[in-house]
């Protein structure tokens, strides 16, 4: 009897193959899908996965970014450049346009616009009649995400109902919807922050510069590091220091990049992907715990936002 030895995939190869499979299921099952691309690290991985899934063909979906208007210039520039390099269509829809239409009303001018992206996203879904949005959310980010399906059903109002999710068995994904409803598909559901960084390292993916250690004026606010005097492409200056706050020059990097008023960097001297992988392996704080101020307001805030149509 001859011994059976079989090659098995490394964990990154397995995760990549699963993500490719999910993207192809979206392409095969949905009529008008779109891939959400923010210029952040997770969505950068998603573009590489899409290349591996569909090249030498074009992507069977456009890219879309819901821009709060309060994103770091480095990230917005990267977003536009990467889409152009790939030769894929990029749609940008802005929370500021929703504000002009009166569908987004801020409580105060300096309020984080992060949660308001849900409104703009739903408007864009209606405008283009998208039946599926592919996103880079991961189950390890947050406990409401831990229970979300790879293909997550949203009703006409974009709502997620955690108590009434479609069972998802084997790798038989069900992306069927009626008109007006849609699916949120998450190809990297099973990835952790570490997997993302290892993948970026292996694939030598380029990232916006603010992911790497750099000097930046900050203040300490509510236990977090808050970047101050951030100049936008429009010339507008965000996050002005409050009276009495002491500005310090700190070496930091971002673990996640989002709406400027609610995204905090961490102190770091990791200026290469390799160093970030090492730092991620030894970190003691979760990604969102360290950096997403909007998740800390209540124990269930992500769950709440998702029920309202957020990613």
């Amino acid at each position: 009897m001859s011994a059976f030895t079989k090659q098995t995939l490394s964990h990154l190869d397995w995760l990549e193959a699963e993500a490719i499979h999910i993207m192809r299921e979206v392409a095969g099952q949905c009529e008008r899908p779109v891939l959400l691309f923010s210029g952040g690290k997770d969505s950068i991985c998603m573009l590489r996965i899409a290349e591996k899934a569909f090249r030498p063909g074009k992507f069977p979906f456009p890219l879309m970014h819901i821009d709060t208007g309060h994103n770091y210039r480095e990230v917005v520039d990267f977003r536009d450049r990467r889409a152009a390099e790939l030769g894929e269509r990029l749609i940008v829809r802005s929370v500021e346009d929703s504000m002009k239409r009166g569908t987004v009303v801020l409580k105060s001018a300096d309020e984080s616009r992060n949660k308001h992206q849900a409104v703009t996203l739903l408007e864009a879904i209606a405008e283009f009649e998208f039946d599926c949005c592919i996103g880079g959310a991961r189950r390890d980010e947050e406990k409401a995400r831990a229970k979300e399906r790879v293909m997550s059903f949203r009703d006409e109002f974009g709502q997620w109902d955690p108590k009434n999710q479609r069972p998802e068995l084997w790798s038989l994904y069900n992306a069927r919807v009626h008109k007006g409803e849609n699916i949120r598909a998450f190809p990297i559901s099973n990835w952790t922050e570490m997997d993302v960084w290892q993948y970026i390292e292996r694939e030598q993916l380029e990232l916006p510069s603010i992911y790497f250690a750099h000097q930046r004026p900050v203040v300490m606010r509510g236990g977090a590091i808050m970047p101050v005097n951030v100049t936008l492409a429009s010339g507008e200056v965000l996050n002005q220091p409050k009276a009495g706050e002491e500005i310090i020059d700190l070496q930091v990097r971002f673990r996640t990049v989002g709406d400027i008023p609610c995204t905090a960097p961490v102190p770091s001297d990791a200026d290469t992907v390799e160093k970030i992988v090492v730092e991620t392996a030894s970190t003691t704080i979760t990604e969102r715990g360290a950096t997403r101020l909007d998740d800390q307001t209540s124990e269930a805030s992500m769950e709440q936002r998702k029920k309202e149509g957020y990613f």
Partner: protein, 428 residues
């Protein structure tokens, strides 16, 4: 040069835990995450706060698996949660399913992707009805590796004789029911999740147990598809035809994209396209337009053939000489997942691999009592019922028996009125 090149990558293992909070299931998962240093300081301090608020002295590791607000309000777990940890050599995905009878559908869901099941037994209570149910479901859904975790050994003074008695009782039960008789590995570990005995670290109070700790076992269990040769199965998901490309070399490009569900494929292999049965040799195997030497199981690839054959989504490529049956009628074990009962009068959709077809029930042979495994007469199925049924299909599927191939033996049933997934089937 990667910081991690020196560590061997032993791939990924998906496993599930079966048990209730009373068996210490959440504590076991909490312990695995805690002892592998997956839990970070801010998470720990959050559960410390909650533990204190609830009047507990020690940190309650079971809070780590606490989920949604909706669940906390009702004090129950309503859904499968997925959790992750890594040892540096292997990555793990835990499917954590609630254990109650009314959640059979969640257990089946969690089991469908698991390569190993941990069945928890409370050492004070031995084999219970729920143990029988969990074991039957793990058997039915074809999980290759079973670990019976005899937990709470600290509460029976780490007594070897009582552990041995539980092992004997469990073995007698599975033998009588004919479970795991197909050579599946069955292992027993005495442990205390609360104290951390034999989870990650070897217990120093149970010298009589010479076997591996739970984590040692998880580290060495073979991954899925790694134990026996399997036939090549390639359901086509998508066809790549970049005709509008500016590159004239691509004008005739026709790539069949999918995931290799089992077996492997390389250039020169003779393939059969189903349906139709036309044969052609493999011209190239690619990922992202780049040639690779061989495509292996679970890899997502693009296959190019030497001849022009009309193939589309829902078709399947197999190796000539290893062709699966084309079936227009299937017999299957079906788990009903919906609150709306299965109706013999209605037409459903069945999705098998990448193929979707209309289907009608031809009959229910019997229902299985999941607690006793007895067969019961039935004409209709309610949520959480498991039954042997027959379906008539509008288009044929290319199927293997589920026991031979989980990917080509499984299907889901979809209700077209609301597009819900209402049934999970395993072809006999």
């Amino acid at each position: 040069m990667s910081a991690h090149e020196n560590i061997t990558d032993n791939g990924l293992l998906r496993f599930m835990t079966c048990g209730s909070v009373d068996d210490g299931k959440s504590t076991l998962i909490g312990r695995l995450l805690y002892d592998t240093k997956t839990i970070l300081v801010d998470t720990l301090s959050a559960i410390e706060k909650t533990s204190k608020k609830r009047g507990m002295e020690a940190v309650d590791l079971s809070l780590l698996t606490d989920g949604l607000q909706a669940e906390r309000e009702q004090g129950i777990t309503i859904d499968v949660a997925y959790r992750y940890f890594s040892t540096g050599t292997r990555k793990y995905i835990i499917a954590d399913a609630p254990g109650h009878e009314q959640y059979t559908r969640n257990m089946v869901t969690a089991a469908s992707t698991a390569n190993l099941a941990i069945i928890l037994i409370d050492a004070r209570k031995s084999v219970l009805t729920q143990t029988r149910r969990h074991s039957y479901l793990a058997h039915l859904v074809g999980i290759p590796h079973i670990v019976v975790a005899v937990n709470k050994m600290d509460l029976i003074d780490h007594d070897q004789a009582r552990f041995d008695a539980i092992v004997a009782e469990y073995k007698a039960f599975v033998e009588k029911m004919g479970l795991f008789s197909d050579g599946r590995a069955l292992r027993f570990i005495p442990m205390s999740a609360l104290k951390g005995d034999n989870i990650v670290d070897k217990s120093d109070v149970m010298d009589w147990y010479q076997g591996p700790t739970l984590l040692e076992l998880l580290e060495t269990v073979p991954g899925s598809h790694a134990e026996r040769p399997e036939a090549f199965r390639f359901p086509v998901q998508f066809v790549c035809r970049p005709q509008d490309s500016a590159n004239p070399e691509l004008h005739d490009y026709r790539g069949f994209q999918g995931r290799i569900e089992s077996g492997s494929v390389k250039v020169g292999d003779l393939l059969t396209a189903l349906p139709g049965g036309r044969e052609s040799r493999v011209k190239a195997v690619q990922i992202g337009g780049v040639d690779i030497a061989e495509g292996i199981t679970e890899q997502s690839v693009t296959i190019l053939l030497e001849d022009e054959i009309d193939i589309s989504r829902g078709d399947m490529l197999v190796k000539a000489g290893e062709v699966p049956e084309q079936k227009k009628e299937i017999e299957a074990m079906l788990c009903w997942l919906s609150e709306t009962p299965l109706s013999p009068a209605r037409t459903y959709l069945i999705r098998h691999t990448t193929r979707t077809t209309k289907a009608k029930l031809t009959g229910v042979a019997f229902k299985v009592d999941v607690n006793s495994q007895e067969h019961v007469d039935a004409t209709q199925l309610a949520m959480n019922d498991i039954a042997r049924v027959g379906f008539k299909l509008a288009q044929p599927v290319f199927a293997d028996a589920y026991t031979a191939n989980r990917a080509t033996g499984a299907f889901i049933v979809i209700d077209e009125s609301n597009n819900n997934t209402v049934g999970a089937g395993m072809i006999l």
